[in-house]
Amino acid sequence: MSSSERFDIDIRELSVHYPDREEAALTAVSERIGEGDVVAIAGPSGCGKTTLCRTLSGFVPAMIPAEVAGEIRLGGASIREMAPETLATRIGLVQQDPDAQICTLNVWQEVAFGPENLCLPADEVHARVERSLDALGIAHLRQRTTTTLSGGEKQRLAIASILAMEPRVLLFDEPTANLDPRGIQALFVTLSDLVRGKGRTLVVIEHRIDALRALAPRLILLDRGRLVDRYPARERLDYALLGLRGAWAASPANAPAGPPRLRVEGVSFGYDQSLWENLSFSLRAGEILAIIGPNGGGKTTLLRLLAGLVSPTMGDVVRASDTRVGFVFQHPHHQIFERTVRQEMQLERPSGGASIDEELRAARLSGLDDAAPLSLSLGEQRRLTVATALSRRPNLLLLDEPFIGQDRRNVLWMISQIHGMIARNGAVVVVTHDIPLARALADRVLYMEKGTHICGSPDEVFSRLRERGDGVFTPEAWT
């Protein structure tokens, strides 16, 4: 195919069936995506969005075995004839988990990896790397070791490394998942330039469909592997009615604040450099605290401090003597130890309380007792780790980015669990980049940025953020 050729994508009756699954991942999906189109793919967790992207980029079935029927044509040619590395010259896929995409140990080298594989001249490789680093706002990280980056920085790096290959079609599998609001805005400015300035085709999988408004995408809805609806670009949609994440109605727990659950007194922390200094706040039973802020600001580190997993450099974290901590990590697989869901629920389980069956039913995991936990979808794994944390009957629940990669239904389930904790006189600390959700849920907000922190009621914190020009961290920027 020559560079002047059009790269329209024609999906015809595409069905994909993984050998270890009973139901098909995709069933008779047909769609035409013209060159320069911007398409958002949405739908509940496990509906086949990621499979569609992986099939479009040739990984299914070439590297991930599956039975594939139907056809995908790119610029008139069937992609079945192309090896993934050949297809990758035209279609670039930014995967869901940025960690899984990083192949090297150095930021500059990571971005150069693709262009070097294309055998481009060294000068061109250098130029593309610098352009991509600048576009994603990570030029200052070029000498860093990839393993030392925060989740958001890794996500930007993963995107930069695909942009550097300059494919005509870009597939993004939840590109905003690990990005802070500033990063999301910067990403969409970059993507707008690519679409409007260079005529690139964009296909974006996204649960937080509100974040995509600026790109005015055409919306495709999948459900249980089938394409169930299409909405043209620029149509104003009520995402909640479509079952998608969008605006959230205020849902604070409204429980009377109880006795202090923990006090953070003049805490400083840092590895080589100080992340923050003299941080003080307290949390009472019945309160929900949302922690927001840019990537790399130390939000996860603060949760680890509150859980007693690390100690502060200075100051003190004082927990009430009867405090039982439940901690749900950002990546569920780190907290899964057993071979089946039921065994996982039984592990170190205190006696008494609800039965495992009741807890599995509450977590919408009934019928999966004998399933291997790591074979579950991300949403199911998340519900399992929340259920195991709650089975220990904590009165202080720490949640690290629990809404990442979760559809509206799972988010609502998570909110119901948080409210349940509050009703039982517990306290909840939740780290999130979903500002509208933080606004709707939290009694108090803590904004953390390297060297700065603001703590108070949501109105106080958002008002101060507006004053200092950080409006992107306020709910208005996302409605």
Partner: protein, 258 residues
């Protein structure tokens, strides 16, 4: 010691040397202790490794801490040789017979072991694997093999991170891990290494997808866009390597002749 945390060329000492110079130095030091196995040669090479490590920004305490298990195993090697080899003058007859030959054999073997492991650790610590892969490619080694090395080194920090996360998850879940009894060891293996290995296998699969998705293997060659730094330290590394091999060979020949 962990895999390179700083980029070659941006630190001091061997960080500034070219990757191929560092590789040559490693091979030469290992060759030297095998060419002339003995306490003096092993000790001299070990001193050279420690001096190079300190010159490359390693703190001596961190160096010893990083090699604590190596040193422990070296002690086991020394004791096993000292107690089993019975050549030469007897120093102690009862209750256990210890001879000069046994002590020298033990010290020589332990030193050789420590030299190989510490020199390898210093190499990993100071060499940028991407540049090393580039260097090997320029020497005619197919780039796929060079990248096998990069990937292997990429997994060192990955496993460290995963292990840290799994240990924290164990604490949060109240899973006690100890090695006080065989049953406890099995328990520790099940709840520590199994999650880490499973995670590692998933990661291997996704990185393979990622590499293909960035056209790895599309052509028979690939561009090497960054060359290793040219610095005096490359010359120092090569000279030291040549000196070590030269002295060890000369000493071996001298012993053979006399």
């Amino acid at each position: 010691m962990t895999a390179s945390q700083t980029t070659a060329g941006s630190g001091c000492g061997l960080h500034r040397a070219g990757p191929m110079a560092n590789l040559f130095l490693l091979i030469a030091l290992v060759a030297a202790v095998f060419t002339y196995p003995g306490v003096i040669a092993g000790g001299a090479v070990l001193v050279a490794v420690v001096v190079l490590a300190v010159a490359s920004g390693e703190r001596p305490t961190r160096l010893v801490y990083g090699l604590r298990f190596v040193l422990l195993f070296a002690l086991v090697l020394f004791l096993s040789q000292a107690l089993s080899v019975r050549d030469g003058h007897t120093l102690l007859a009862a209750p256990i017979r210890i001879t000069v030959g046994g002590l020298l054999a033990g010290a020589g073997m332990a030193l050789r072991f420590v030299v190989i492991l510490s020199a390898s650790a210093l190499f990993v610590r100071t060499t940028d694997p991407d540049r090393l892969a580039g260097g090997l490619t320029r020497m005619g080694v197919p780039y796929r093999y060079g990248y096998l090395l990069v990937l292997a080194l990429r997994f060192v920090p990955f496993f460290q991170e995963e292990l840290g996360a799994v240990r924290e998850a164990q604490r949060v879940r109240g899973i006690e891990v100890s090695i006080r009894s065989p049953r406890r060891v099995l328990h520790a293996v099940r709840y520590t290494f199994v999650p880490v290995v499973v995670s590692g296998l998933h990661r291997v699969e996704s990185i393979a997808i990622s590499m293909k998705g960035r056209c790895f293997g599309l052509y028979a060659t690939r561009t090497v866009s960054r060359r290793g730094p040219r610095s005096l330290w490359s010359l120092v590394a090569v000279s030291l390597g040549l000196l070590a091999v030269g002295l060890a060979t000369a000493a071996r020949l001298w012993r053979w002749v006399t």
